[in-house]
């Protein structure tokens, strides 16, 4: 089965009101080109589930988000995401604020077809108080109460990887695949952008096959977008774009998201990349040191 699609056709599968999971972590390996395609579309009223960075900030600022499921939204070296803050401080989005690990449990429950997974995480905190939809349950095996973390069933997941073949075998060769395997498994439709489309024989090398974290049946669509994680990192191919994030952060105080999008977004990814200095410049971005 050939799963290759254009970014536009892939993102056109997202309908108003859907729940969309976004892979990556903060400023790291986010499917930003697919997010930009959402920004160019008319889709709205999304519920977004993410370990959030600028993906969440941009979608909130552009009015695409009805509800956000999050544990944090951060650009790491700029700790506070400016547009996420504006969205929260203006009260313009609904939120389900949970612990980082609860999000993993919710994705696992969805992937495994369970209504919930019991956990101690969240007990005694405002996670429980502010989320009336997260129930406490009795255990059949002890006398304690437990948090029943509900399944985070996703209509669509968006993920960016280094390489993929036309059937949806996806390689993440960087140091961490984050929770992307669970985003892939928790969604009805998983759209993966890749920096490079490779031949299926690429994965014959067992070292490369071990860098594939979910089976191709969990991948619905493949979109080849070199540099598609920009301005986030796609370690080891490129680091995150510090200067671009600084400009993005500054735009929240001066000009707003309209000025940022007018400057950079463009009509398609080719125009975006011209606006940010080109693919060679993206590929030359140094990897971060932690």
């Amino acid at each position: 089965m050939d799963k290759r699609l254009s970014a536009r056709d892939a993102v056109a599968q997202i309908e108003d009101g859907m729940t969309v999971g976004i892979g990556g972590w903060g400023p790291r390996r986010k499917p930003m080109a697919l997010v930009r395609e959402i920004l160019r579309s008319d889709v709205k009223d999304l519920t977004v589930v993410a370990y959030g960075g600028a993906d969440v900030g941009m979608l909130c600022a552009a009015g695409k988000v009805k509800k956000l499921v999050f544990a944090f939204v951060s650009l790491d070296f700029i700790p506070l995401e400016p547009y996420f803050r504006q969205a929260r401080q203006s009260g313009s989005i609904e939120v389900m604020e949970i612990d980082e690990g609860m999000m993993l449990l919710g994705l696992r429950a969805a992937a495994w077809g369970l209504p919930f997974i019991p956990t101690a995480v969240g007990l005694g905190t405002d996670i429980i108080k502010q989320n009336p939809d997260i129930k406490l349950v009795d255990s059949p095996y002890d006398d304690k109460e437990w948090v029943a973390m509900p399944a985070l069933n996703l209509d669509v997941s968006l993920i960016h990887v280094d390489r993929a073949d036309f059937r949806g075998v996806c390689q993440i060769s960087g140091p961490d695949h984050y929770l992307d395997d669970w985003f892939a498994r928790a969604a009805k439709t998983t759209i993966v952008s890749c920096d490079e489309l490779v031949d299926t024989t690429f994965f014959a090398d067992p070292a490369r096959a071990r860098e594939v974290f979910w089976e191709r049946a969990a991948t619905s669509a493949i979109v080849e977008i070199p540099g598609g994680a920009h301005p986030t990192s796609c370690n080891p191919l490129y680091g995150f774009d510090v200067a671009h994030f600084k400009a993005y952060n500054a735009s929240a105080k001066d000009g707003g998201i309209e000025s940022y999008l007018n400057t950079y977004l463009g009509a398609d990814e080719a125009e975006y990349q011209r606006n940010v200095g080109g693919l060679d410049a993206i590929r030359a971005l140094a990897l971060p040191t932690y």
Binding site: F72, A120, L123, T125, L136, Y178
Partner: protein, 267 residues
Amino acid sequence: MSTVATDYTLAELCIVAAAEAFRHDGEVLATGIGVIPRLAASLAMKTFNPDLMMTDSEAFLLSEPNPLGKRPADFQQANETWMGFSRIFDNVWSGKRHAMLGPTQIDRFGQTNTSALGGTYQQPKVMMLGARGFPGNSICHANSFFVPGHNTRVFMDGECDFVSSIGYNPARLPRGRSLDDVDIRRVVTNLCVMDFGGPNHQIRLLSLHPGVTVEEVQENTAYPIAVPAEVPTTPAPTVEQLAIIAALDPHNQRAAQIADNPPGIRA
């Protein structure tokens, strides 16, 4: 033999005081978030608790802590195993971890806030990071706190605006659990070292940094502190400890962590 240093910064004193939090931990993952907590955990691992485990703050466990900041091109970190974010949760939920973090608010119960200040929950006045991993950390393993600016905004009156982590609050105690299940260890600030070992888990003064008074600590804390009859001075770093800290922090990031980078012994 170790030689007590006479010339050190307050940041270095805090690193040494915070390292003590990890002394008796045995074989757990020591996670120091921020420059001073990370240097504290690294110092502990390099000296009195070599059994500690540590990450590269990205995706590997190290048998030897990485120095902070940009490292030479030929630097090779001492990888021990892969430890990506999904596996971190396996460690967190197992309890074999001790994290040291810097929350924005710490109330009298030891509950902390990393999420939002003021306003309403639907529309906070100041949105911060979010709850992050604090709920899970606090119910699963030991936690310590570092506060670079000890004041009544951090150690605030009432309950945290948003309770990110469970503390010693009887009103929030989950059914079937005991307050003793909560494991808050040390609170290191620019003024003193505390814990929650007072009567009924009240916050308690353990030591004062050189030149700091009990009154100054109490004035900067919005709730009563249990003060023992004798409060020692926070032990000064040794010359050997300072050398290890300098090697772990070659770009001197520690100098930027406490306002004006004051000396450890007040002028």
